[in-house]
Structure formats: structure tokens, C-alpha cells
Amino acid sequence: MGSQWLFTLTYGALVTQLCKDYENDEDVNKQLDKMGYNIGVRLIEDFLARSNVGRCHDFRETADVIAKVAFKMYLGITPSITNWSPAGDEFSLILENNPLVDFVELPDNHSSLIYSNLLCGVLRGALEMVQMAVEAKFVQDTLKGDGVTEIRMRFIRRIEDNLPAGEE
């Protein structure tokens, strides 16, 4: 439990410092996404080394692995997967509770700050390393008064260059 709080407080300190360093919320959001991306490209190897999941062959498998294995492993929560688009290329992750935002309140002058934007970068970076270009963004946020936190994931395309041998 102690390390959970340490994690939450460290993240909070990080976002606070970014808000001081950058003048406006948009820049902080971009920076969080970039940092998340850098974490994601490395985290994917740790995830694959420890979880032993195989390659996902469609976006539904990917969604399952993200929600049931990855989020569980790293944040201790299991978001639910809903709102599939008819083409099966978009879905939502609904987080009932987000460990990053425990004890956090957004002040009024930071209303366009996407506090947990690091998560979007992590998802984007990690999936890029397994040849999937995706877009992740927050569409609901408990910090802004919504009931749940919702991340919308959209599949853009399969990355065909630099495929590992055997994946064509």
C-alpha cells in the first residue's frame, strides 16, 4: 500500500512541476504524452518478458490484453472495455478508479489539464513497439466531474516497416 501512495504522490509532484515549468496546460499535456511515450516503448518489453502473452491478431485481443493483463500488472486495476465502433477499430477503457488521481483535485485555473495524460502516451508507445499505431485520448475524467474516467483507443494502422522476421 505504501508504494502505491508513493507512486501517486510522485506522479502528482511530476505534474505539479510540469505545470510550473510550462506556461499553459496544452504544453503540459503534450509533455506528459511525450514522457508517457518514452516510458511505453520500454515498458512493453518488461510487460512481454513478465506476462508471456503472444502476439495479438486483432484489436479485440489487444483490448483484452491491455485491460485484463497490462493494467492489472502495472496499476492494479482492471478497466472494462465498452463502446466498440461498428468497424471494431475503436473502443473505450472505463476506469472506475484511477490510482494516479487519488487525493488529487484540479484547481480552477487548470481546467484544460489532462492530468493522467501520461497513460495515453504509454499506451501509444507500447503498442507502437508491437507494430500497432494507435491513438489514445481521455474523453471523460473524474477530476473534471465526470462519473468515470474513460480512455478512447483508436486503431490507426499496422506499422509495416521494421517488422520482426516472421511477422509479414
Binding site: 516503448v41 518489453e45 518488461d46 518478458a49 522476421a165 511477422e167 509479414e168
Partner: protein
């Protein structure tokens, strides 16, 4: 030691980590008088035994040292050509150390990228879609085991043919790579791994 070497190859085929752990190689040092009863030849910047075999010296062994001083490729320590030196009766009796030549790091780099290409060919030859690629290469003196991650990094282990459990070793090396290399903020992805192991991950 049942594990001979570990190689880690990045997505582009470049060698980023290599570790050898051979038992001491067979080396033989003998004093010779003119004429030398072994036939020597120059090959790839080294002087090798082309024909002749005695007392532990075999065909393929390289000249490692002359009179106690290590040779530098095809030149002696003081810059003379080895073959010329050994062709001159005035230099005898001479003490020469022979042994199996070690691979230089350049050679290891080349071999790693060649293996990367072979691996790709192996996957393309597969009659089924989505082949895992080369998992094992077996010879009479060693077995090469290879594990390619979903992200394209290959972990290669050369071990004794009878050694079991290499699959779990490969997975374990993957975990160690993600702990020590990836969690080190000063390590850049895809670059050679040169990390000080005194840095331990404390997360």
C-alpha cells in the same frame, strides 16, 4: 561451464551485447627447431596451421604468441611478419604458442548480423504463416538457442548440447534486459549495452 556465450541482437541486426564464458581453451606452447614441421598459412589476418598435427596442436590453430610475446594478427609484437620470421633459420630455436583463435569483436558483430539475416530467411522459408524463426541450431559441439521477442530483439545462447532449461534461461535474460537495460534512463534503445552493474533498479 555449460553455457558458452550469450548474444543480444537488436531489431536491425546489430549486436548490442555479447558475453563469452568458455572453459580455458586448449593452448599448446612448444619449442621448435628449424625447419618447422607444421605448415603455416596466412588467413584472414591470422597465421594458422594448414597441415601438421602434434602434441595438442591441430589444423586450424592460430599462432598466439612467439617466445612468450603475443602476436598481433600476422605480425609479431615487434612488427615483423610472423611467416617471414619463422622462415629464417637464424631465429630458431623458437617457442610458439598455438591455440584456437578467439573471435574478434568485429567478427562477432558480423556473425550476429549474418545470423539476423539467416533468421529472416528461415522465417520466409516457412510453409506456414507466422513462423517463430530459427529457435535452435544444433551441431555436435554446441547448440544455439534463439528467442525473438514480439518487438524484434533476439536473445541467442550457445550452450552444451546436453544442457537443458535454455528456454527458461532465454526468458530470464529477457527479464534481466528489461530490468537493467530498459529501466536505466541513460541507456538508449537499440544501442550497445555497456552498463555498470553497480546500478541496481530500486523501484
Amino acid at each position: 561451464m555449460a553455457i558458452f556465450s550469450v548474444y543480444v541482437v537488436n531489431k536491425a541486426g546489430g549486436l548490442i551485447y555479447q558475453l563469452d564464458s568458455y572453459a580455458p581453451r586448449a593452448e599448446a606452447e612448444k619449442t621448435f627447431s628449424y625447419p618447422l614441421d607444421l605448415l603455416l598459412k596466412l588467413h584472414d589476418e591470422r597465421v594458422l596451421v594448414a597441415f601438421g598435427q602434434r602434441d595438442g596442436i591441430r589444423v586450424g590453430h592460430a599462432v598466439l604468441a612467439i617466445n612468450g610475446m603475443d602476436v598481433n594478427g600476422k605480425y609479431t609484437a615487434d612488427g615483423k611478419e610472423v611467416l617471414e620470421y619463422l622462415g629464417n633459420p637464424a631465429n630458431y630455436p623458437v617457442s610458439i604458442r598455438f591455440g584456437r583463435p578467439r573471435l574478434t569483436s568485429n567478427e562477432k558483430l558480423m556473425l550476429a548480423s549474418m545470423f539476423h539475416s539467416l533468421f529472416a530467411i528461415g522465417s520466409q522459408l516457412s510453409p506456414e504463416q507466422g513462423s517463430s524463426g530459427i529457435e535452435m541450431l544444433e551441431t555436435d559441439t554446441f547448440k544455439l538457442h534463439c528467442y525473438q521477442t514480439l518487438t524484434g530483439i533476439k536473445f541467442v545462447v550457445l550452450a552444451d548440447p546436453r544442457q537443458a532449461g535454455i528456454d527458461s534461461l532465454l526468458r530470464k535474460i529477457y527479464e534481466i534486459y528489461s530490468d537493467f537495460a530498459l529501466k536505466n534512463p541513460f541507456y538508449s534503445l537499440e544501442m550497445p549495452i555497456r552498463l555498470n552493474l553497480r546500478w541496481t533498479p530500486t523501484f
